[in-house]
């Protein structure tokens, strides 16, 4: 399909396609055609709903998700424990749901932070160019090329009190949550920055931007009102695709004992002890990984579908 224009042929073709003719309608239809993406969206909504409903399910089952019961450790699935219990006798299903809350929240929040930083940096570098641009490109090259995981392990091992954080905050239980979001946002913004920079460079020379400048619009207005809305689709696609990667990264760090700290459950740290348990309780090693895998692949399919829907070049 080409750009919709005023000629009759396109109009007829559009009529033949059906009633949805608004740009949003066309996008929605294209997205619906991508069955994998649609299925993925449904799966993700289901996971999110289940994670949100964790306290309700906890009430229904009638036991506390954090309750340690060593006499009932490594139980097989039963009516009271639909997926059995873990090595400390905690209910596996409830742990998975609460872990899902953490993993999904970290993925979404960190991806959003990374997208905001990346968009700001990309707009700045693309529009103003100069030394800031050169520095940015060097930095993104560096962040992409370096062995990231070992460096993240060092960053995750840093003693926050040495950075001047108050003792009470640095040793609080939730600090591992904030720390991992900050870490991932710090290394994750570069993809978006590059994309936004490239899109901004091409938008900058378009007629409507030059017209706005001729009418006396200042740089902030041009960048925020005229350029930003036109670079939104690569941002959406890159952010969706990055959520999957971030959930993977969080799970790796938590698995290695450097991400989300117990007793807070995350899918990654639920697998930390799995290696010793595969002989007598393989289910404990399988379920959390399966959920990570399903969530990440769903976000990747979703991002791929969005890319096809939003990128006009992909339509054949």
């Amino acid at each position: 399909m080409t750009e919709p224009g005023p000629n009759t042929l396109t109009a007829e073709a559009a009529q033949a396609l059906g009633p949805a003719r608004s740009p949003a309608g066309i996008l929605w239809r294209r997205f619906l055609e991508h069955r994998l993406a649609l299925g993925s969206l449904l799966v993700l909504i289901l996971f999110a709903a289940a994670a949100l409903a964790a306290p309700v399910i906890e009430q229904l089952l009638g036991h506390d998700a954090t309750l340690v019961d060593l006499f009932n450790a490594k139980q097989p699935a039963s009516l009271a424990h639909p997926l059995g219990t873990d090595e400390l006798g905690r209910d596996l299903l409830l742990r998975l749901l609460y872990g899902g809350r953490v993993s999904l929240t970290v993925g979404l929040v960190a991806a959003l932070c990374a997208a905001v930083i990346g968009t700001a940096v990309g707009l700045w570098a693309g529009y103003f160019g100069g030394a800031a641009d050169a520095l940015l490109m060097r930095l993104t090259d560096g962040v992409i090329a370096l062995p990231l995981l070992p460096l993240l392990i060092v960053l995750a091992a840093i003693d926050l009190t040495k950075l001047g954080l108050p003792e009470a905050l640095a040793t609080s239980q939730d600090v591992s949550l904030y720390r991992i979001v900050v870490l991932i946002a710090l290394v994750g913004w570069t993809t978006v920055a590059r994309l936004v920079r490239g899109a901004t460079l091409s938008m900058k020379t378009r007629e409507f931007v030059r017209a706005a400048r001729a009418l006396g619009a200042g740089a902030p207005r041009i960048v925020l009102v005229h350029i930003l809305p036109n670079v939104v689709s690569p941002i959406i696609v890159a952010t969706t695709l990055s959520i999957g990667n971030i959930i993977l990264l969080e799970s790796v760090l938590s698995f290695l004992g450097l991400g989300i700290q117990p007793p807070i459950a995350s899918w990654g740290n639920m697998l930390t002890n799995a290696q010793e348990l595969i002989w007598d309780a393989p289910a404990l090693a399988i379920y959390p990984g399966l959920l990570i895998f399903a969530t990440v692949i769903a976000f990747n399919f979703l991002g791929d579908g969005l890319q096809d829907a939003l990128d006009p070049r992909a339509v054949e």
Binding site: P147, P150, L151, I158, L271, G289, F293, V296
Partner: protein, 316 residues
């Protein structure tokens, strides 16, 4: 060409110098210092002793002063002793670097051998079942948590089938069979974790190459399909693939770290991880720098391959 290589090498040296300062600073921010570890080992040390020892070892001086001292030693080949192993750092790292290079090299070569033909076949028949299958494998490959993949492989091949060892290194002087058996699962894990990304790049690049005019020309002048695909499509498709693969070398190293940790393979990745968790500051620092150096050299190598693949590029 030689001038270009020399320039790139000096750039890499600069990056390495900057990284050494950054990593030195970060390690300085990790909890505790060597004197704290001595106090733990010897409860008779008083606070006054500790202060005296800190002054003796220069730990009371500012970080940049300590860094310059370290750098002076490093320039003369003195990288210090490892706390965990009580041996010079380089003596420990060299053989482990070899293990990692073997692990990464084998996995990378295998992934490339599988991904290039598969990606090419998928691109030749888009929207066929073959393409769909390749696509699903590629998405699964980029979405699976590598540590969980390792757990699954251990469950299947070590626990259920009992064919392969679940981890560790072949004993010194063991035959080639034992060496291969111990490497099989780590290499399989890293190959599968690397495969997905390469598949997607190859498929996209081959689709792009197939659309070009020179492919139509080649077909028009009556070349057989074999020659068109191998001589024109493949060669041109490999150019962007090589660039992206070089940029992903850092990710390959991160994968190696996870794989080595999972299987207890004594390579660089596991050494870095253990040294960071074990407060072995010297070993962590030099290990991270060696990993960075390897990545930089791999990038340089990829750039040289790039020039060889694409005669249009000249570096003079």
């Amino acid at each position: 060409m030689l001038r270009y290589i020399a320039q790139r090498l000096s750039e890499s040296a600069l990056v390495l110098l900057i990284m050494s300062f950054v990593i030195y600073g970060l390690i300085g921010l990790m909890p505790g210092d060597p004197i704290d570890l001595m106090i733990n080992a010897d409860p008779k040390l008083t606070a006054a002793d500790a202060a005296r020892l800190r002054a003796l070892h220069g730990l009371d001086r500012p970080i940049w002063e300590r860094y310059l001292t370290w750098l002076g030693g490093a320039m003369q080949g003195d990288f210090g002793f490892s706390r965990l192993h009580s041996r010079p750092v380089l003596e420990i790292l060299w053989p482990r670097l070899g293990t990692t290079v073997i692990l990464m090299g084998l996995s990378f070569a295998l992934a490339l051998l599988l991904a290039v033909p598969a990606g090419l076949l998928a691109a030749l028949k888009p929207r066929s079942w073959r393409d769909a299958a390749v696509n699903v494998i590629a998405f699964a490959g980029i979405s699976v948590p590598p540590f969980w993949l390792a757990i699954l492989l251990i469950i299947v091949f070590a626990v259920l089938l009992g064919w392969l060892p679940a981890g560790g290194m072949a004993p010194r002087g063991a035959g080639l069979g034992a060496q291969i058996a111990h490497l099989a699962l780590p290499v399989a894990t890293l190959t599968l974790a690397t495969l997905g990304g390469i598949l997607r790049f190859v498929r996209a690049a081959a689709m792009e190459a197939l659309r070009q005019d020179y492919v139509r020309t080649a077909r028009a002048k009556g070349l057989g399909e074999r020659q068109v695909v191998l001589g024109h499509v493949l060669r041109n498709a490999m150019i962007p693939v090589v660039t992206i693969l070089a940029l992903n070398f850092g990710a390959l190293f991160s994968g190696a770290l996870i794989t080595e940790t999972m299987f207890g393979t004594l390579g660089m990745g596991k050494t870095i991880y253990d040294s960071i968790l074990g407060n072995d500051f010297n070993l962590a620092l030099v290990g991270l720098l060696l990993a960075t150096l390897t990545t930089l050299l791999a990038n340089l190598l990829a750039d040289i391959c790039y020039a060889w693949l694409d005669p249009r590029i000249s570096y003079d």
